[in-house]
Amino acid sequence: MTYFFQIVVSGIVVGSIYALAALGLVLVYKSSRVANFAHGQIIAAGAFITFFLTVDLGVPIFFSFLASMAITFFLAMSVERIFLRRLIGEPIISVIMVTIGLASIIDGLIYLTPFGTENFSFPPFLPDTPLTLAGVSISWTQLVGVIITFILIGGFSWFFKKSTVGISMRAVSDDQFGSMSVGISVPRVFGLAWATAGLSAAAAGCIIGNITGLNFDTLHAFGIVVFPVVILGGLDSILGAVVAGIIMGLIQQFAAGYLDGNWGLNGTGDVAPYVILLIILLFKPHGLFGIHEIERV
């Protein structure tokens, strides 16, 4: 049973981190219906900013982490302001193409720094010894990652449900023109959505960077790795991202634990989440928590 529970714990850890990384995509989609293909680059930027502040400037890691979130908050807001705001009202495909272009630009900028081509790791700041209970272990990095993930996700959920700005963002997501007619500033909402996405991306980048080490290629790939999580969750649902993230994490770990290496199977840990995604989408085409919009003609 230890084996089973270890897989469950690992699945939840991985799934929570997927959920946090997916959150930025959901936030942008929720307000503007745009799939942001530059999300992985913002994840990487957040991780490298924290590293730079900690190692090169000697800022304590906790403050570096907060500062990095603040910097990516404004960075993502600026990106929206400079590149995307003028595309409000333009076809969605144009906006998506701009995010693809943005991904290349940020890639290029990061490649100009040593962070684009080298490997680093955060200085150790958590205890080395893992927490072990009945043979099931979890590292401090993983535990802290999961706690931060749930705090952020809880905070964002509250923000969208209870705060005026959050409700405005949901309103913009439902109907841009309707929102404008009741006095909501759509450009401001878009900017805020990008900014909060940047904030969550930085958090995800730091957690992933702590687990895998800091390698630009690995970090920015997570922007794409979490797309199935977002789709399974229903694209614009924060709860969906959490549930889908954990489902994906568990499927991945169970497939790796029980299918791989048996009956000639290999790599099912990577493939199984996509297979399950396809099966679920056959029955729920809008994802687990996606809204099926009904249009009257």
């Binding site: 084996y3 270890q6 897989i7 714990v9 690992s10 850890v13 991985v14 981190i17 290029g108 490649y111 040593p114 684009g116 081509t117 080298e118 490997n119 680093f120 790791s121 150790p124 080395d128 893992p130 272990s137 979890i138 590292s139 993983q142 992933i208 687990i211 895998t212 080490g213 800091l214 390698n215 290629d217 690995t218 790939a221 997570f222 790795v225 770990q253 169970f254 790796a256 634990g257 791989d260 290496g261 290999n266 790599g267 840990g269 990577d270």
Partner: protein, 406 residues
């Protein structure tokens, strides 16, 4: 009188111009296309610095007399289509030798090298580069040789029965090629069980895989991929307390890896979890603090490289990749031959016996012949000891020789 002076002046100018041309020496054009940015640039970037510095050193120290090497270095971001375009432009430019980078582009352009009859040294040590190819010269032991050498080391040093081994590999031709050769070595009599071959993804947690391997009695994990997934795996192994503290410790996992899975970058990524990790590489490491590494560090210092690049085995790989054509040019000049692709190809095939090339970057001599296009046959086995890789053994894969002989 005025007219005579003008004619004399013109004649003198013409004379000195011709004289200057005659003594200026030749310029030999070479080209390198590699991943200076983009995926795998953590290896490609320091490698390109090694190439650049070596050619600067050749010209600055007049190793070719008045002749000079002009090597154009271009970034292809690990994209084969860009590599092909770069190669074609280098051909138009009149290169006499070509340096390539990735496994994908080397396999993809293999036929182009044949058609153009262009001697090529790649940074890829994929065994498949040699199949149906006469113009590719691999600088050091192939990836397969690294992996089979590790397997041989496991068999030789394992105590008690047949060792159970898992292979942890990159999901690509680069990762799969050596697996096939390791399986062939086992079929040819290498006494070990390959319990599982694991192709990794972008895993954040390898607990399930590690527990599964443990449940199957695996004791050794041989990796052939890049550093990042290995770092994540060995960190997980340390958390689960399944890492062997000594080679082959029963009930634990001993981790070993081939060429791109080790070096200073692995330690940068994995930290303490890298302790007791075994790694094969044909390059001399600066942590060895020998005469060879001092030469490497001096070269890096001369051209203002930072410590990270200077101490990288990929920097050493770049130096060797540039030294090989340099040596071929020196041999062609010594033989009184014109420096062109055909003659450099001929020189490389003669780089054996008394003409082997000893490089400070590598752990053994570079030798080629018409039937052998692998340069350095020896790999060092390094082990992480107190945060640095230290050489513990040298090995030449016996089984790869047998397989090739077939």
């Amino acid at each position: 009188m005025k007219k005579t002076t003008r004619v004399l002046t013109a004649a003198l100018i013409m004379f000195f111009a011709f004289a200057a041309t005659a003594t200026a020496g030749q310029v030999y054009k070479l080209g390198f296309s590699g991943a200076i940015t983009g995926p795998t640039s953590d290896a490609g970037n320091p490698l390109s610095k090694g190439i650049e510095d070596w050619f600067k050193y050749v010209n600055d120290n007049k190793l070719l007399g008045d002749d000079k090497i002009e090597c154009t270095i271009r970034d292809d971001q690990y994209k084969t289509d860009v590599t092909k375009r770069n190669f074609e432009e280098y051909l138009d430019d009149g290169i006499v030798f070509y340096l390539n980078y990735s496994t994908g582009s080397t396999l993809g352009l293999k036929m182009d090298f044949e058609e153009e009859q262009m001697p090529t040294v790649p940074s890829s040590y994929h065994e498949g580069n040699l199949v149906d190819s006469t113009y590719i010269f691999i600088p050091v032991a192939t990836y397969s040789e690294n992996m089979v050498a590790l397997a041989e080391y496991v068999v030789k040093n394992h105590k008690g029965g047949k060792p159970k081994v898992a292979l942890f590999i990159h999901p690509s031709a680069f990762g799969r090629g050596p697996v096939e050769d390791t399986k062939k070595a086992v079929a040819a009599g290498l006494n070990m069980d390959i319990v599982e071959v694991v192709e990794h993804g972008k895993d954040l947690d390898n607990s399930a895989m590690l527990k599964r391997l443990m449940s199957k009695g695996v004791q050794y994990v041989i990796c052939h991929t890049v550093q990042s997934p290995v770092a994540t795996m060995i960190k997980d192994a340390m958390r689960l307390n399944v890492t062997a503290k000594s080679f082959g410790e029963p009930g634990k996992l001993t981790f070993l890896g081939a060429h791109y899975t080790g070096g200073a970058d692995l330690i940068a990524l994995a930290g303490d979890a890298a302790e007791n990790y075994y790694w094969t590489c044909s390059y001399n490491l600066t942590t060895e603090d020998n005469e060879k590494s001092q030469k490497q560090l001096k070269l890096a210092k001369t051209y203002g490289r930072d410590d990270k690049a200077a101490n990288s085995h990929n920097y050493a790989a770049g130096i060797l990749q540039a030294q090989i054509p340099t040596q071929a040019i020196i041999m062609a000049k010594a033989a009184g031959l014109e420096v062109n692709p055909a003659n450099l190809y001929k020189m490389l095939n003669q780089m054996n016996g008394a003409k082997v090339f000893n490089s400070f970057a590598a752990v053994g001599p570079v030798s080629y012949s018409a039937n052998d296009h692998v340069g350095v046959d020896v790999v060092n086995i390094y082990k992480v000891d107190k945060g640095v890789f230290k050489a513990i053994s040298s090995i030449e894969s016996e089984y790869m020789k047998k397989l090739r002989a077939k």
